[in-house]
């Protein structure tokens, strides 16, 4: 959010169980259109290898959202 406030491209990565939280919180903080890149829930119990695989899956989407900013 702080990055977005400085006019830089900012993307938040959320698991699908927290989309509502992400949207509500960005709205509350004055950045209703902050882009969200969504990954499958749960995230907290992933191994490092699984996190790496998830990152590879969503990196293109993150880049697309950041470029659209």
């Amino acid at each position: 959010m702080e990055i977005a406030k400085r006019g830089k491209a900012a993307v938040t990565v959320v698991s699908n169980a927290f989309i509502g939280l992400g949207r509500a919180q960005s709205r509350s903080l004055g950045h209703a259109n902050l882009p969200l890149a969504v990954i499958p829930h749960p995230f907290g119990s992933r191994t490092r290898e699984e996190v790496r695989a998830l990152a590879e899956q969503c990196v293109a989407e993150i880049a697309r959202l950041a470029a659209a900013k």
Binding site: A17, F18, G20, L21, A24, Q25, S28, L29, G44, S45, T47, R48
Partner: protein, 353 residues
């Protein structure tokens, strides 16, 4: 019709139905309640509440996560009225709002997690008696105005100012009854040790509120009649493999009943020694955890405590001082284990009118 009082930090006047039944439904429909009927926060009631603090109504006490709404004195007072608080409770709620907004309390995590964590309010010092906050029999139960309404008011502040509505920003999988209210005082008169606020650096004659991220309460009924045996069964109860305290390195709490506290004191133990013994004796073999939890524990705790494998004996906190102890309750062979959210640290603030 909404009519702002201006400036922005002042509350908005809302025309509401005169009929009490309709009024209660009016609040439910807007999700301004916790599901229970509220006391209408009329201008007169809010003014009476505000008369018990020297602070200005538009003073911002904190920004409350996760919505970061501004908790002005007036907004805290409005929620206090709605919860049924008496006017002289207001300074406690102001201090509690300050405390839970301290960074180390991690209110963002507490409000938005899937964990059932509630905010437990502990009152110490002279104000506990002045406000008749129950520290004795059934202090964590129903029946005392201060305990019931102070905890409820803090929940309304978290929901209405912080924006953590269940199912929206409050992501709790189940929640817990303590999210309606969770408040007690310490039974300082029957504690054999210095009270919590003195332990945390305040003078005995100061009044304080301490906030704790409490995952739930687990009763321990034991007729153990010596310190060694009592510590052993309490330590054994603290260990459970699905505990946040063990994989994060948390801050578990114990509410010792006065009888149990007296047994430990008679065994020659200071509060610090009780903590040290419990910290040692409640170490749990990491193999009791699910494989996923063991991986998470390694990721989170290895930087602090070194390599972790299935044979590692994990402590519930990073050190003995991480265990919180409160003496409260009435006669009986009971104490309560309060497992914590794990990723939060208790905060104490002085209550000042």
């Amino acid at each position: 019709m909404n009519r702002p009082l201006s400036p922005l930090t002042r509350a908005t006047l809302v025309e509401a139905p005169d009929d009490l039944d309709e009024l209660i439904e009016f609040f439910h429909a807007r999700r301004w309640s916790d599901g229970l009927p509220i006391v209408p926060p009329t201008r007169e009631r809010v003014a009476r509440m505000l008369s018990c603090t020297q602070r200005k109504p538009d003073e911002i006490i904190a920004k409350v996560a996760p919505g970061f709404g501004e908790a002005t004195v007036e907004r805290i007072a409005i929620n206090a009225v709605m919860a049924g608080c008496r006017p002289d409770y207001l300074p406690v709620l102001i201090a509690a709002t300050q405390a839970m907004s301290a960074p180390e309390f991690n209110l963002q995590g507490i409000q938005a997690t899937t964990n059932p964590v509630a905010v437990w309010l502990i009152i110490n010092g002279p104000i506990a008696e002045q406000l008749s906050v129950n520290a004795g029999p059934n202090c964590l139960g129903q029946g005392t105005v201060a305990n019931a309404t102070l905890g409820r008011a803090l929940r309304l502040i978290m929901q209405n100012i912080g924006g953590a509505l269940p199912g929206d920003m409050d992501r709790a999988t189940h929640g817990q009854p303590g999210k309606f209210s969770f408040c007690c005082a310490e039974n300082e008169a029957q504690s054999p040790w210095p009270p919590l606020h003195v332990e945390r650096g305040f003078k005995r004659e100061q009044s304080t509120v301490t906030v704790v991220g409490a995952a739930g309460t687990h009763n321990m009924n034991t007729h153990a009649d010596n310190a060694d045996e009592l510590l052993r069964v309490i330590a054994d109860t603290m260990m459970f493999p699905a505990s946040n305290d063990y994989w994060i390195g948390g801050e578990p709490w114990l509410v010792l009943g006065p009888q149990h506290a007296a047994i430990l004191h008679a065994g020659g133990l200071s509060k610090a020694e009780v903590k040290r013994r419990l910290w040692e004796e409640s170490k749990m073999p990491a193999r009791r955890m699910a494989a996923r939890e063991l991986q998470r524990t390694q990721a989170v705790r290895e930087s602090k405590i070194g390599p972790i494998n299935e044979d590692t004996m994990l402590a519930a906190a990073d050190g003995p001082e991480g265990i919180g102890i409160l003496v409260a309750g009435g006669p009986g062979t009971h104490s309560v284990y309060v497992a914590s959210f794990g990723d939060a640290r208790a905060v104490t603030r002085e209550v000042i009118a």
